[in-house]
């Protein structure tokens, strides 16, 4: 459902993504790992055009993001994104955060948006927080709201950029639990993470990125137990 062909991305003279090729199938959970600065976030941000692409193609359900005729706002409604820093809207309550895009983009009535929003909050275990402001939530709760907010647009793919890296350790579990549930329900997911346990347990495939390339990709078990590339071995020996 996502095809990435010869993707290149530069910031000025600085080429960050050099030649990325990957196909992601529907319902697949792809975990992206790699050292800091290897271009993981940039890759993820290209997938919903938060970064403009320098070269190559990204096709989502056959729709080419680099085609000028493609309505990028439409594509983004199909691709949910969860950020490391949550990025909840602080001037809106939890339920308003979730209702905003369905109402403004999909023109759904407030009542319907609210019902769906509450359902999603129930799903992430935060129904009782519907009417509070994000400031009063813990990090783990914020991230669960952010996931519910992205799900409210009923995306076909969810992108996660280090969703647990800004959390206190005791809150990592609750967020990973929600993501596991999502994977079980068949959501297509691309997850940048340092949580190797999650990668092993939930991932269908692991991509190891370094220096702007996908250096190695394989089943989680294979990557972790039997890495082929020197750079993969070096990286894993540091993080495992």
């Amino acid at each position: 459902m996502i095809e990435v062909k010869n993707l290149k991305k530069s910031f000025g003279m600085n080429e960050i993504l050099k030649d990325i090729n990957v196909d992601i199938k529907s319902q697949e959970v792809v975990v992206v790992i790699g050292p800091s600065g290897s271009g993981k976030s940039t890759f993820l941000r290209c997938l919903n055009m938060l970064e403009s692409i320098t070269g190559g193609h990204i096709l989502i359900e056959g729709l080419d993001l680099t085609d000028k005729k493609t309505d990028i706002n439409k594509v983004r409604t199909e691709v949910g994104m969860v950020f490391q820093q949550f990025n909840l809207f602080p001037h809106k309550t939890v339920i308003e955060n979730i209702m905003l895009a369905p109402m403004k983009v999909r023109n759904i009535s407030a009542q319907e948006a609210k019902e769906k929003g509450l359902e999603l909050l129930r799903k992430v275990g935060l129904e009782e927080k519907a009417n509070v402001y994000p400031d009063s939530l813990s990090g783990g709760q914020k991230q669960r709201v952010a996931i519910a907010r992205a799900l409210a647009m009923q995306p076909k793919v969810m992108l996660f950029d280090e969703p647990t890296s800004a959390l206190d350790p005791e809150m990592v579990g609750e967020v990973l639990e929600v993501m596991k549930q999502l994977a079980k329900e068949g959501m297509t997911m691309v997850v940048v993470t340092h949580e190797m346990g999650f990668a092993r347990e939930v991932g269908d495939r692991v991509l190891f990125m370094d220096g702007g390339y996908i250096v190695e990709e394989n089943l989680p078990k294979e990557i972790f137990e039997n890495p082929q590339e020197e750079r993969t071995k070096a990286f894993l020996s540091k993080v495992l």
Binding site: L50, T77, H91, L100
Partner: protein, 218 residues
């Protein structure tokens, strides 16, 4: 010779008239300046370089030259060009609005740019377009931060409106000068005028403080 309260009493109707005009000028220029300022601020943030440069020049000119000079240019130059003769009130409103707009544009820009860029990204990633994200996510947060500097600017504008007296706009300062010229006195007219300005500017500050508190608790 003591302080001539009797002369002040005699001039009270004129000071009242002048005060009303000062308030009127300030309100109109504040509103026009705010609307223009928002447009200019957004224009300066435009991604197209020539557009952004144009607005940058506007802001540089109006912040870098004296309001006094701008008022003369408008009064003796721009206004006669369009209506064939001078008009003090019109010139004052135009000059004050254009000048305030330059400062307000910078306040808007700073306010908008002070919002974490993750907010825009989150809004866009949900499928909102740029305008929708600005309206629903960025501006509501930015406006809260803009209120204190905007309040300052409005106070400055009230004080600056006194320059209009030079181009015979019968606002508050004009009547102060009239009284001074009439009786050859200094203290009575100008202290009275100063106190009235103080009341106006203090009221404006109080009003904005209240608005700020209201928004903060929302």
């Amino acid at each position: 010779m003591g302080f001539r309260f009797d002369l002040i009493a005699e001039y009270i109707p004129f000071f009242l008239k002048g005060t009303m005009l000062t308030i009127g000028l300030s309100i109109v220029a504040t509103l026009l300046g705010t609307v223009l300022g928002l447009g200019i601020g957004l224009g300066k943030m435009a991604r197209k370089k020539p557009i952004s440069l144009l607005f940058h020049c506007y802001i540089t000119f109006f912040r870098g030259t004296p309001l006094f000079v701008q008022l003369f240019l408008v009064h003796f130059g721009v206004v006669p060009l369009f209506i064939g003769h001078t008009n003090g009130i019109l010139a004052t409103i135009i000059a004050l609005s254009l000048n305030a707009a330059a400062y307000i544009a910078e306040i808007f820009r700073a306010g908008i740019q002070s919002i974490d860029k993750g907010q825009m990204e989150a809004a866009r990633s949900l499928g909102l377009n740029h305008v929708g994200a600005m309206k629903n996510v960025i501006l509501p947060q930015a406006i809260k931060r803009m209120i204190p500097p905007l309040g300052n600017e409005f106070v400055v504008l009230i004080k600056d409106s006194s320059l209009a007296a030079i181009v015979a706009t019968p606002e508050l300062m004009y009547w102060g000068r009239a009284m001074a010229g009439n009786y050859f006195i200094v203290w009575e007219p100008y202290i009275t005028v100063a106190l009235i300005y103080l009341v106006l500017t203090t009221s404006m500050s109080l009003l904005l403080n209240r608005l700020e508190r209201r928004l903060a608790t929302e």
